[in-house]
Homo-oligomer: 322 residues x 2
């Protein structure tokens, strides 16, 4: 497979340099060597995140060393990590996972061990969702756009984004899953976020849908009212993103969008309809009207590879800035 | 005065070029010639916005022509305008006020008449709040920061911002006053926004406070519960901005912040306290703790000149990009 993929790569991605990519998720680390999506992934491996960071990082480094000997030497590394992370390059904790509640992972240096294992290699580092946004911008649904957001709704909700061509950073980095939300008529659910109750994540993430319905989202019938309610909440949240950031596109990733028995296409159609209702014509743009809206709220073009491809893009950017 | 100011200017602002500035507001147009705030404003004049755009624009142009002959020729123009406006430089409607409900002003070309009156002069154009953000970034409360927002709460609510050093644009531009909000316990007010009812503007702008209380905010006693309620809503809205954008500072301008008999300092202290309560420790940053928070939510350092100074900054940027 490596030989085929390598020849594809030369066709599809030309001379883009080979890099190592790490999507550091809360459940698993997805690692790859490549220079772009699909044919550009020459090797790929997953490791459980676990509760022993040193062990996981050691496994990742070992795999990258072995695979880069096998498929070709890498020119940079990219890491798209669960957070919160330290993105301030002037901080002594740059490249760390910081105040995560995830057992074992609080205050874990991610970039440091990679630097020591691959001395002299540029390393790009950002949040998982910023990475996915970057990947979708380079190869996916946001190609050619300077302003867009990438949202993942799964076990939790996170969002990253690009404004005027640059990833959103700031005081820390966006934590889009946690803004306050209106409570919709007839919803007595108290919310599942242990910090905020009824923030977006507390109302719409997988565990919230399951807790409200009394069973996992995957078991809900296609016409279960939970889908309509969740779509209405999603519409309100996407309206908030639209008013604050004015994105040219909202890319909606994560497992919840697949919407079990209802299916992704129908769930997205519901969200788009409610979203237009929430905006109520306030923002005038053809993208928000019938005919445009299907290209405004979209699933990731890279599917579940958005994150690892984003890590490749982070590596490429780190190399370019070297 | 012009002579004194000119000599001050040379001291304080060195060789920054003289430019024309227009803060195009819904009530008045504030025009100036200068190269920075305070001593840098060599001439200043206000014109009512009215309902006849051609007349207002003609007055503004006439004043700029006369004053630039008097105090010194200008090298660029900057316009910070109420909106919505068209910011896409490739659009034939670039530099227009577009779908505003303001009588007479829908689909008004602002930049075009200025270009014809001042041929060959670079013209910067952006929203009033983006302009104010830029001004605060250059000379005010956000000096040296790459990520921050500027909010104005008055007759309406608007917000602009800078991310990674660039003004937020996008599909249209941010319309931060209109995101959905939770309804707080005991508040039966239906909201005053004619598009969204209980969006941020519908709950917290001057008309909303007056409609809920039955009299203007300026007449409310310092201990009127309306202040506490408004502060709680503001805290939720600032939390939303913090989660979506991760600003390093929120600059809170506009008349409502002055809070009548309560006063700005006490109103801001209320908002900061509730804001920390809403975040509930989710984002770890010294800026969000006691000791930092007073520098995180702040009034504009340029006061009510943030907008016109922002127009000067827009002019300087247009000149630099020329």
């Amino acid at each position: 497979m490596a030989a085929d993929a390598a020849s594809n790569t030369r066709e599809v991605y030309g001379d883009a340099p080979l890099v190592g990519a790490i999507e550091a998720g809360g459940t698993k680390f997805v690692c790859a060597i490549g220079n772009g999506p699909e044919a550009g992934l020459l090797a790929r491996q997953e490791f459980p995140t676990g509760d022993d960071p040193q062990r996981t990082i050691r496994e990742v480094i070992g795999w990258l060393e072995a695979e880069s000997r096998r498929v070709g030497s890498i020119r940079a590394l990219g890491v798209a990590s669960f957070g919160p992370v330290e993105l301030d390059a002037s901080s002594p904790r740059y490249g760390w996972i910081t105040t995560t509640p995830k057992p074992g992972w609080r205050d874990t240096d991610i970039v440091g061990p990679l630097r020591r294992a691959f001395p002299g290699l540029p390393i790009g580092f950002d949040t998982d969702v910023n990475g996915a946004a970057l990947g979708e911008g380079r190869w996916g649904a946001a190609r050619g756009l300077e302003d867009f957001v990438y949202i993942t709704v799964g076990t939790g909700i996170g969002g990253g984004g690009v404004a005027r061509g640059k990833l959103l950073h700031g005081l820390v980095h966006p934590e889009m899953g946690h803004f306050p939300m209106p409570v919709l008529d007839g919803d007595s659910f108290a919310g599942s976020c242990r910090f905020h109750g009824r923030c977006w994540e507390g109302l719409c993430a997988g565990p919230a849908i399951a807790a409200r319905a009394g069973r996992p989202a995957g078991e809900l019938a296609a016409d279960d009212p939970a889908w309509e309610l969740t779509a209405r909440y999603m519409a309100h949240a996407f309206a908030t993103l639209t008013y604050v950031l004015s994105p040219r596109k909202i890319i909606f990733g994560g497992s919840v969008r697949k919407a079990g028995k209802l299916g992704e296409a129908r769930f997205l159609a519901m969200i788009r309809r409610h979203f237009r209702g929430v905006l109520n014509g306030y923002i005038a743009s053809p993208m928000l009207e019938e005919g445009g809206i299907d290209q405004f709220i979209v699933p990731p073009a890279l599917g579940d590879d958005a994150g690892v491809c984003g890590a490749i893009a982070l590596a490429h950017d780190a190399l370019a800035a070297w």
